[in-house]
Amino acid sequence: MTAANQVENPFQPEPARIVRQYDLIKDHRFFQIRFTDMERAMSFIYKPGQFAMLSLPGVGEAPFSISSTPSRPGILEMGIRRTGKLTDALFQKKDNDIVYIRGPYGNGFKIEPMVERDIIIVAGGLGVIPLRSILYYVLDNRDQFDELYFLYGSKNPDEFLFRREFFQIKDRDDIDCFYTVDQDSTGNWTESTGFVTELFKQIPDIDPQTTTAVVCGPPVMYKNVIKELLKLKIPKNMIQMTLERRMKCGVGKCGHCALDHIYTCMDGPVFTYWDTLHFRELI
């Protein structure tokens, strides 16, 4: 029977090479990956906020956000935290080693509602990894958007991801960056201290009707950040957030990421705050 072969296999992992990798912070590593097939590398079109499934044969497969921006095609970037079997094995890989990728999956951020509007990007901890994609996307297409505010908080300076990069863009005049750490354990932190919600005080007055917010962080962070955004009177459907669920397939078949009637992998991982009000289990 060839029936099956007529349908493309959406689970087929494709070989890709680790081009470069380095530690971001302890147990968090940055990977640049390129499909071994150059054509595929260029035809892999994705949106900020989408993710890919990364496989290591024999170890398994897991979803990871794409942290690079589609405005710089050819190379995929991922920021990965070491938490278990697959990520452990991935951290043992060297430059030039082969991994397997399939995707892109998920809905990604809705760019439409951001165009010609002010944008607030709020990231907590690891949540900055998917947001880095939209951040660079906006910077690369700067003329399409109005004001850009980037708020990022980590627990302490040692856990501040992409530190060099983010302090570089801080000097640009087309973006306002606000960085904070919960606690400064090192004593050489030059930015704010306190929770990321504190940073809202530093944002100049904005017009909530022309502003879109994008949020990602640990579950506890969402509640507080959303409170702040609502205080600013940003409409509920103009707050985009990206969520995490267990996933096995990425294409709405395995059921793991289902909540109520939606599949995080297909209908998400980006949801608006308005969406989450219907789905009680979302955050």
Binding site: P15, R17, T36, D37, G58, V59, G84, K85, D88, A89, Q92, N96, D97, I98
Partner: protein, 265 residues
């Protein structure tokens, strides 16, 4: 497609040891006829006295340990193995939970029972009450079962050969039992421990129409109190259930049935 071929990995050095038990887990490895030659090929077996003479007892990548710790000498020996092994795998119910010989774990009857079998013989070195090996050393991975299952064991060994952490099974026997299309024995009011027992055996017993006696040990998410209640409602006495669940529960079952004991009193 330009894909770099992976380097051949170094064969892990392996030791397989037996302590107090029935040797069923070592035997099961020997009985894996379709894989035993592959196994000897893929790993460097340094010590496996049940199958081979002239063991070399040095540094090991993985030590598989079967059997419970039941004498002072075994306590020392297991520590010595731990010292030279990168990874220690507790293999089989005896090593994981203490085995059937640990069914009275910590109830204080051990001395009395020794006396029953041996009378008043005075021992030079007293045997100790059977314990799982993790009461003496740290254990990295567990292969439960009395005896272990071939697929689960080979999957674990396959992963260890490649330096990959093994998967842990957190599903109950019922998953495999249903996949094998057995009729639920609880619906026939049988004393089946499947729902509170860790999966991995392939529902070996229900496949033959016989209730699970719990030889894989407790499933951490088992709803123990409800199973007790359900079995009681079939007319099976509380002590009966308690006794059976301890037959293969060893030391590992204790924390799950503590509350149930309390409720009864």
């Amino acid at each position: 497609m330009e894909v770099k071929s992976e380097k051949q990995i170094v064969k892990p050095r392996i030791g397989i040891y037996g302590f107090t038990g029935c040797a069923g887990d070592q035997l099961l490895i020997i009985h894996t006829e379709d894989q035993i030659l592959n196994l000897f090929d893929a790993v460097d077996i340094k010590s496996f006295v049940m199958a081979s003479s002239n063991p070399t007892e040095g540094e090991l990548d993985v030590a598989f340990v079967e059997g419970s710790i039941s004498t002072e000498e075994e306590r020392e020996h297991i520590k010595e193995i731990r010292d030279r092994a990168q990874i220690v795998v507790a293999m089989g119910n005896c090593a994981v939970a203490g085995g059937p010989q640990a069914m009275f774990a910590r109830d204080g009857s051990f001395a009395e029972r020794i006396k029953q079998v041996y009378g008043d013989v005075k021992f030079i070195t007293d045997p100790v009450e059977a314990t799982p090996i993790d009461e003496v050393i740290t254990v990295d991975y567990y292969l439960p079962g009395c005896p272990i299952s071939q697929p689960q064991t080979m999957a674990l060994i396959g992963r260890l050969i490649h330096g990959v952490e093994p998967e842990d099974i957190t599903t109950p026997v019922c998953l495999e039992c249903k996949l094998n299309e057995n009729k639920c024995l609880l619906n026939d009011k049988k004393l089946c421990l499947g729902p509170v027992t860790m999966g991995g055996c392939g529902s070996a017993c229900p496949n033959y129409g016989l209730p699970c006696v719990g030889c894989w040990g407790p499933n951490k998410d088992g709803n123990f109190s409800e199973l007790f209640r359900l079995l009681n409602s079939f007319g099976i006495a509380h002590e009966e259930v308690m006794r059976r669940i301890r037959n293969y529960g060893g030391h590992k079952i204790l924390k799950y049935i503590e509350d149930i004991k309390d409720k009864e009193r």
